[in-house]
């Protein structure tokens, strides 16, 4: 079994004894110590930047690989065949019928559904958006 070696303090190794400590050496130790902390934390900061970059690249690759899944809903004729090519990020599939709803409201509803379901808009197929008016009781 291999044990960790026991090191004496670096200061003793260099100067032979702790008695050798004086103000110039204390200043030097303090400077090196402070720079060490800054250097280690700066290395971690660079590492975080690096992994953030790697993850953003992976996410972009995954997004571009996405093939649209077209689920026929009651043999929907309005959903176009995209031949495996992804639609632009801001477009949804199929022809949408708006009944009593203006385009701005429909766009907002589609964005909400995409956000809540965490499914990109270009993978969602909307057939119709209909205004349902409640009768006054």
């Amino acid at each position: 079994m291999k044990f960790s070696p026991h090191f004496l303090g670096i200061f003793t190794n260099i100067y032979g004894s702790y008695d050798a400590m004086d103000i110039p050496k204390a200043l030097l130790v303090a400077l090196v110590g402070f720079l060490t902390v800054i250097a280690v934390l700066a290395i971690i900061a660079l590492f975080i930047k690096f992994i953030a970059f790697i993850f953003s690249v992976i996410e972009k690759k995954n997004a571009s690989k996405v093939t649209p899944v077209i689920t026929p809903i009651n043999s929907t004729p309005s959903v176009p065949q995209t031949n495996g090519v992804a639609l632009p990020d801001n477009e949804s599939q199929g022809q949408l019928e708006l009944i009593g709803v203006d385009e701005a409201t429909a766009a907002m509803l589609m964005a909400l559904v995409s956000y809540k379901t965490e499914i990109p808009l270009n993978r969602l197929a909307f057939r119709s958006i209909r205004l349902v008016e409640e009768e006054n009781k």
Binding site: V37, A45, I51
Partner: protein, 396 residues
């Protein structure tokens, strides 16, 4: 009649009144002040109540609650209390529990809990926070130089200076290894200053920043993915351990706790580390650290020096963080509020809360807490790295 007189005299001699010294009286007064600050002023009550009560217990004369009766002083007590033929379990109950402090078990387990409670998200979304956490270790090195000037040995100076890291477990861990005879004043100073952060930091923050700087609203942080949060503790631990192996006991436990939190498959372990285990260790650590403050050994000129050096370290650490915050304010053209630099001292989350409260004083719509949490958790890593460096430099 003589029998009754002798009996009464014996009872008097064995009572606390006869054994009470003025030092015990002063320390009981100190414990009452700490209890008042914790209960009435709510200064870090979770720490200050057990510490204050520990001081009270240790200064009730004749209880023997902190006596180490073992001949080899297994629990790090005073050789004067050793009794031949005693077993380890004959020692005072708090002295036996104190073995957890001497052996570094308690500081490391506290770090496990801190890791499980820490969200590194703000740090990952704004890595520049790490530099603020590094700058806020300035006080450690300023205090080290002053301690050497005052005639402390290098090991004592290193242990005293770590108070500037504003991290109780780290201070106890390093002091236990380099200058265990100073554990009581250093631990008390470290925890007391952490509790007093809301009083110490705001004047310095105000002094070093302009009104315009304090009013800066920072932009929303980027969303950090779960995978990044899982990868971070493992890789950072390996990275730091390769640079400074001495810091592995502390950072290893911190990162293990954080992995429990982030991996999402050991919720029970995460919950235990954050709550039950952490609370148990806080009680044991707080009471036993407080109990080391016995009047006779504590009330010395040296203790006052340590308390003063600790305050100096704390002030310079805050200054370091705020000054780098000002530099970043200029570099980023006003996108960083320098107040968050003060949170680089690692007292989590108290220092971040102070930054938040100060920010809101000058801009009620400002919400700096999450931005300040970045430097705050970076400070935990920074102070552990500083402690690892000092241990590597001066270990026996």
């Amino acid at each position: 009649m003589e029998l009754i007189t002798n009996l009464l005299a014996g009872l008097w001699d064995a009572s606390g009144f006869a054994l009470l010294t003025w030092q015990n009286g002063v320390m009981i007064g100190v414990s009452v002040v700490f209890l008042y600050l914790a209960i009435a002023k709510k200064f870090e009550p979770l720490l200050l109540v057990p510490i204050a009560f520990g001081i009270l217990l240790a200064n009730l004369p004749g209880s023997g609650i902190m006596d180490d009766l073992t001949l080899n002083q297994a629990f790090g007590g005073d050789p004067a209390t050793a009794v031949e033929g005693s077993h380890w379990y004959d020692s005072g109950v708090l002295r036996i529990i104190y073995a957890g402090v001497k052996s570094s078990i308690f500081p490391c387990l506290i770090f496990l809990g801190v890791g499980a409670m820490t969200d590194f998200g703000p740090l990952l979304s704004n890595p520049i926070s790490l530099l603020l956490g590094a700058a806020a270790q300035l006080g450690i090195y300023v205090a080290f130089i002053i301690a050497i000037l005052l005639g402390f040995t290098p090991q004592e100076a290193a242990a005293i200076s770590i108070i500037g890291g504003a991290d109780g477990p780290t201070a106890i861990w390093l002091t236990g290894k380099l200058a265990s005879h100073l554990l009581a004043p250093i631990a008390l100073a470290a925890y007391s200053y952490m509790a007093l952060i809301p009083l110490i930091q705001p004047p310095i923050m105000k002094l070093l920043t302009t009104k315009k700087e304090r009013e800066v609203k920072m932009t929303q942080l980027r969303k950090v993915s779960k995978t990044e949060k899982i990868v971070f503790p493992v890789v950072v631990l390996v990275l730091i351990a390769l640079i400074l192996p001495s810091v592995v006991p502390l950072l290893g436990m911190l990162m293990l706790g954080n992995l429990f939190r982030e991996c999402g498959v050991v919720e029970r372990l995460s919950d235990t580390a954050q709550n039950a285990l952490n609370n148990i260790i806080v009680i044991l650590l707080g009471v036993t650290v407080g109990a080391t403050a016995n009047g006779e050994s504590f009330l010395k000129a040296q203790t006052l020096g340590i308390v003063a050096l600790g305050l100096t370290a704390f002030i310079f650490s805050t200054v370091g963080g705020v000054l780098l915050g000002k530099v970043l304010y200029i570099v980023t053209k006003g996108k960083i509020n320098p107040l968050i630099g003060a949170a680089g001292v690692s007292a989590v989350p108290m220092a971040a809360r102070v930054a938040q409260n100060e920010g809101r004083k000058y801009n009620p719509t400002n919400f700096l807490l999450m931005h300040a949490m970045g430097p705050n958790v970076a400070g935990v890593i920074g102070s552990a790295v500083a402690a690892g460096f000092l241990l590597l430099m001066f270990q026996n």
